[in-house]
């Protein structure tokens, strides 16, 4: 075990890191109550006058719905393609196996602006209409690898003997998948899917190039930052989103930690 001094030191460090992580979040939430529409320190005064206009803002609502739709669809695609790819890579040894891992990591490893530019030109060339599906495709590129990594990591830790035992007991491939394999990777899917959803929901660089004239929530936020007239509305929206997402994130964490076999990252 680590010495007592080390443990105290680590505890202090953890507290400092948490403070570092959360000071800007506290600032955001505090300035949702800013009296002035221009941000400056110290705060000009406290008021709740921004809450109602922000939540009833039609542009914001449309942007929020578009973001949610795009994130849900991108996550779904990522779950399907990512887990298929991870099974394929994990179970079979073949020439070009590493190339697939490399290929899937590219969207995260390459700057988002390159993905954005490339997809934009590509869609324009094939005369695709910019809208929900172009946004989803853009997001799916990097969501797939998030799910893929989580599932592959889990598959490495699940003993292959389980599958064989299931087959020995008379289950066919599909039954084995449903009763044995799927439950053992389900928590990896949940945590991968949740991270993919978060990344897609907050993505702005690729989306700027693939959304056309449509606004997702981050694009709406950037427009408000440009304008500088209703900034506290942005703070209100972020504050509400944080308040709402604490529950699913905490829930997902509880679910994935009680999996029984081994946890995910």
């Amino acid at each position: 075990m680590e010495s007592r001094a080390t443990r105290i030191g680590l505890r202090v460090w953890a507290a400092l890191v948490l403070a570092f992580l959360y000071i800007p979040i506290v600032v955001i939430c505090l300035y949702a109550f800013n009296k002035s529409n221009v941000q400056s320190w110290p705060i000009a005064g406290l008021t709740t006058k921004w809450f109602s206009p922000a939540l009833h803002n039609g542009d914001m609502q449309q942007a929020l719905f578009l973001s949610l739709k795009a994130a849900a669809l991108a996550t779904l695609i990522a779950l399907l393609l990512g887990s298929a790819a991870s099974f394929g890579v994990h179970r079979f040894r073949f020439f070009g196996r590493e190339a697939i891992s490399f290929l899937l990591v590219l969207p995260i490893a390459l700057p988002g602006i390159i993905t954005g530019m490339a997809l934009n030109s590509y869609f324009t060339f094939w005369k695709f209409n910019f809208g929900l599906w172009t946004i989803v495709i853009g997001h799916a590129t990097f969501c797939v690898v998030v799910v893929y990594n989580n599932v592959v990591a889990r598959l490495r830790r699940v003993p292959g003997s389980l599958t064989e035992a299931s087959m020995d007991l008379g289950a066919d491939g599909f039954q084995t998948f449903r009763h044995v394999t799927f439950p053992s990777i389900s928590t990896a899917l949940v945590s991968g899917g949740l991270l993919a959803f978060a990344l897609s929901f907050d993505e702005v660089i690729v989306t700027t190039f693939t959304a056309g004239a449509n606004n997702t929530l981050p694009i709406w936020i950037f427009g408000q930052i440009r304008l500088g007239q209703q900034l506290p509305q942005v703070n209100v929206v972020v504050f509400m989103i944080l308040a709402v997402t604490i529950i699913p994130v905490a829930l997902a964490q509880r679910l994935t930690s009680e999996s029984g076999i081994l946890r995910t990252e």
Partner: protein, 371 residues
């Protein structure tokens, strides 16, 4: 099923349900507009939407370059209208991105000042490619408490007195501002038009900007950048639009702006309609609405610019006493001629030779200047 499978199924079900939800019904059409910050405020957009049933979505752009690119993006069919300044309008016309309109369909067109009915930046060969909107100068903005004595010349942003607290726009067209300063202070260079610079004039201008660079705290790209810089003490003097001045004064910041003695560059904006729009009806309704005297006055007072409708003056004075005179809305010609409106620099400067720097060189020089 296990707990985790239920959770997964719930996520998937929610995900599939969303595409069905959230599609709002639109009565009229939707106008996707590219606009300068402050050009589509709810004060005049909400009544428009209520009266006509058309919905307005604004995408803000901070420079004419951005507007041209946005207008051309996705094959040119993403946006319906754009509030283009003079240095974007010709590019859009020649790029066939905008369509000709019939100004006689706009009731208030007859009330426009004569200089704005068919200006060269939106009327080619008698065809009108848009409707003039508003115009104004790029101003010198300064902090009244920290900049003493009050500046009267653009020299204030080129002198080391306020080193590290100066800000200018992040826009290649800013080179023209420096050229304008040289035009008045170094006549030996022979600059006649800040947008027509031959090689030696261009080099001299870039050198001035290079000397200015150590003084700059930040090249502002977003209007809110400059507002934050002034409000939070990071800049005390800089080149600006009246929009920032008005917002800062409303937020109780001690600032003032002016047009210095050398004159200023400025903009003359046109609402243009995309060649590929599917909402021509709503577009014409917007053009009619935005040129009525009351709305012209609202926008002029809000942003700090001058309306093209000669009947807007009394409305302006009702909104803000004396604003008609402040923005020279009723004595336009002398003041108007002092402003060097934005236009796209091209190689052919009209002196028979083709040796002026074209805009690509301006853009490259600007990127390399920032470094």
């Amino acid at each position: 099923m296990t707990k985790s499978s239920w959770a997964l199924a719930l996520v998937v079900a929610v995900g599939l349900a969303f595409p069905a939800a959230g599609v709002s019904a639109q009565r009229g059409g939707t106008l996707n507009m590219i606009a300068w910050e402050g050009y589509t405020q709810p004060q005049w957009v909400k009544p428009f939407e209520k009266n006509t049933g058309c919905t307005v979505h604004a995408k803000y752009a901070g420079s004419s370059d951005e507007m041209v690119t946005l207008m051309r993006s996705g094959g040119g069919n993403q946006y319906d209208m754009v509030s283009a300044s003079g240095d974007a309008s010709l590019r859009l016309i020649y790029g066939k991105d905008v369509q000709a309109i019939d100004p006689n369909k706009i009731p208030d067109y007859k009330n426009f000042g004569p200089a704005f009915k068919a200006p060269p930046n939106n009327t080619i060969g008698g065809k009108h490619y848009g409707l003039s909107l508003q115009w104004g100068p790029n101003t010198l903005l300064y902090n009244t408490k920290l900049v003493k004595p009050a500046p009267t010349s653009w020299a204030a942003i080129y002198s080391p007195k306020y080193k590290g607290k100066v800000t200018v726009p992040d826009n290649p067209i800013q080179i023209a501002d420096a050229a304008l300063y040289l035009m008045k202070t170094q006549p030996s260079l022979g600059i006649k038009d800040p947008y027509e610079l031959n090689s030696s004039q261009f080099t001299a201008t870039i050198n001035l900007l290079k000397k200015q660079k150590p003084l700059i705290k930040k090249y502002w790209a977003l209007a809110s950048d400059e507002i934050d810089l002034f409000k939070n003490g990071d800049a005390v003097i800089g080149a600006s639009w009246p929009y920032q001045t008005n917002t800062l004064i409303a937020a109780k910041a001690p600032v003032k702006d002016l047009v210095p003695k050398e004159g200023a560059t400025g903009w003359l904006d046109t609402w243009m309609v995309s060649a590929h729009t599917k909402n021509l009806d709503c577009a014409y309704k917007w053009l009619s609405w935005i040129s009525t005297p009351k709305v012209q006055a609202e926008q002029a007072v809000y942003f700090g610019e001058t309306p093209v409708n000669s009947k807007a003056c009394p409305f302006m004075n009702k909104l803000a006493k004396g604003s008609c005179a402040t923005y020279h809305a009723n004595a336009p010609l002398k003041y108007f001629k002092q402003i060097h409106f934005w236009k796209t620099p091209i190689a052919n400067c009209g002196n028979g030779k083709n040796d002026c720097m074209d805009y690509t060189k301006w853009q490259q020089a600007w990127t390399q200047l920032k470094g």
